[in-house]
Each structure stands twice: as C-alpha cells, then as structure tokens.
Symmetry: C3
Subunit: 135 residues, 3 copies
C-alpha cells in the first residue's frame, strides 16, 4: 500500500509527523510489516529524534546551522537565496528515506522516538512524503 502525504511546514526546523505516519499504518491494518517513508525533495529531509524535550531538537538545528552556515563565500549555487545551498547539504547529511518495522499493528518505535520532517528552507509551505507499507 502506498499513500502520498502533504505535510504543512512553517519555517526551518523539525516538524513532527509521527501521528500522520501512524494513521497510515492503522489504515493498512496489518499486524507485522515494514513502513518506509520517502521525502520527495532535496532541500528537506527526514529524521527520527527525541520526541520528549524540544531543547534537543533546537540544539540539533542550531548545531547543523553552525556547520552549514548561510552566506558561505564558497557557495556558487546561490540563485534561490542564502538558504538554498545549505538546505541541500543538510538534506545530504540526514535522511531521504527511513524504514520502520510494524509490530502488533503499530510502528515499532522506541519510547522516546518521534518521526520528523526536517525543513531546511525558510519559506516553503508544504512538503510531500510517500509512505509505503509492505509485508
């Protein structure tokens, strides 16, 4: 089964999508299998991170932005603005696809794991994720 999700985003940072993915798994109605996520963009990505304390996500975003700064004079791919090239680098360092086993009809996530869409650009309004559910 495949479902295409449109995820609204509001600026750079981690947007939790665990509930959206869990709803697709519930709809599939299988007890055991594999749920694979794929984001159809090269300037946003996927990650699994701590879902409890938002300070961990803020520090993660802050570390990444220091490593991949805007306005680096060595960038040549700047036509779409200062957040363009950093967004491609950040996407390359994180995940375009993630696979999560399904056990007892649910995502087999650990207690503190949430699924996040990581938006790297400043002004996008939504992103597309493909969810594949297999046996």
């Amino acid at each position: 089964m495949i479902r295409m999700l449109t995820i609204p985003v509001t600026g750079q940072g981690l947007h939790e999508i665990t509930d959206r993915i869990a709803a697709v798994v519930a709809e599939a109605g299988i007890q055991e299998g594999l749920c694979t996520l794929f984001i159809r963009h090269t300037s946003a990505s996927l990650t699994i991170q701590e879902n409890a304390d938002p300070s961990a996500r803020r520090d993660l975003e802050s570390w990444m932005t220091r490593q991949v700064p805007e306005h680096d004079p060595l960038y040549t791919h700047t036509i779409e603005g200062p957040d363009d090239m950093p967004s491609h680098i950040k996407a390359a360092l994180t995940d375009t696809s993630i696979a999560i086993p399904i056990l007892d009809g649910r995502l087999a996530l650990g207690t503190w794991q949430g699924v996040f869409l990581w938006e790297h650009r400043t002004s996008r309004k939504s992103r597309e994720i493909v969810v594949h559910i297999g046996a």
Copy 2:
C-alpha cells in the same frame, strides 16, 4: 519475519553486529529478500563500515567527536550529562535504519563491509534493534 535483538554495549564507539544479523537471516531461511535493521534509540545509531582494520573505526569515532564535542557552551539540552546532546546529533548524522538485500540466503554485503551499532553515550549497557526480513 521480525526479530527483536538486545545488543550489549560497552561504552562509546562501533560495536560489530554482523553475526547477530546474519543469524536472523539464516533463521529466516529465504534465498532472496531484504533485511531491514531499525534501532529503537535516538542516542545510538547504525552504520556499515570497514570490518578489517580497527584504525578506520577509531579515526571515524575521533573525527565525529571533534565535530560534535561535549561541553559545547551552545547546548541547552544538558540535563542527562555532557554526552547527551552530542549523542542525538551523532545519531541524526548517521543511520536509524539500514536495508541490506539478501542473496543466495545471505546478506549481500561487500567484502569489507561490517554492520555496526554505534553507541554515542558513555554508560549504556544494551540497545534494542528490530530486524525485519521481507521478500
């Protein structure tokens, strides 16, 4: 088929788990398919690395720790100690899930590839990995 593995760990660094995964593949008894690994934590991760010379793994750990140091004054997520926030960043930069094809009844790894659990915290004793075997 899904198996839950508990992997003992002894401090930060790469712990090889190739044999544990290969045993699940052997138990599944299929000739061709896909083996997907998923780690149920946000402060430890998975990676495939050279399995021959341990110096490559030590240099990898050393590079990563220089890029993501403990005691960075910009971290705010510090309640669990100095290895807490770096562990989340290191996990985000590496893999939470990895898929390895199964060919002729075995993991289709290259000659020098080993599968590793990368422990980023100092005092954990074990970690959980979910192994999914599909057609």
Copy 3:
C-alpha cells in the same frame, strides 16, 4: 527481484545513476512497490540530490571535502593514501542504502530528485550496487 549493477566511476564526486535504477524498475514490471538500493562499499555511498543544476553538487562536494579534509594529522588509518580515511567518514555521513517507492510503474522521485553514487576515492574505476525490488 534483485539485480547487481556495476557502475563505472571517474574520480571523486556525484555520478548520476537514476537511469540505471529506472531500467531495473521497468524490467520488474510492477506498478506499485519498493525499490531499495545498497552499495557494497565503505568508501563510496549513495545520495539523492538535485538533478538540475550541477553547481549544487559541486558545492556539496566542496563543503564535504572541507569538513573531512585529506592529510588530517589525526588520521591513523592512512595505509591506502590520503583519500582513504576521508572516504570512510564521508560514507558514514551519507547513505549505504536508500529505499524509493514505486508508483504507477515508476520511481516516485520528486521533480528535482536524481539518484547518485557518491565516489569518495580518487582512483576507483567501478562500484557495485545491489537493487532489490519488492512488493
């Protein structure tokens, strides 16, 4: 279905393989499913990146090489030359496996997404990728 692909490479950088993967999907002849790629090396990797403007890929390569320089005096794994240890680190930071859903008989890539083999060594001539197609 599994196919083993030998990909010719010509030095460090991103080599597009989208057409090679699409050909395997076409051969499989399924309408809906999952295509998983696995590279059998620890000094080359996979990534999905912008396929339109080559300047994005050059800047990505350049950023990565600045973060993971050759001739770092802290490397001890240097027996195969100055591009050896950086190649393992770059591979750890990017992907060994990527899963792409198949929809309407084709890879469900976004408009600007291409699939790339990222060669991190200077003198390799070819690399092996395993392609698994599942339902």
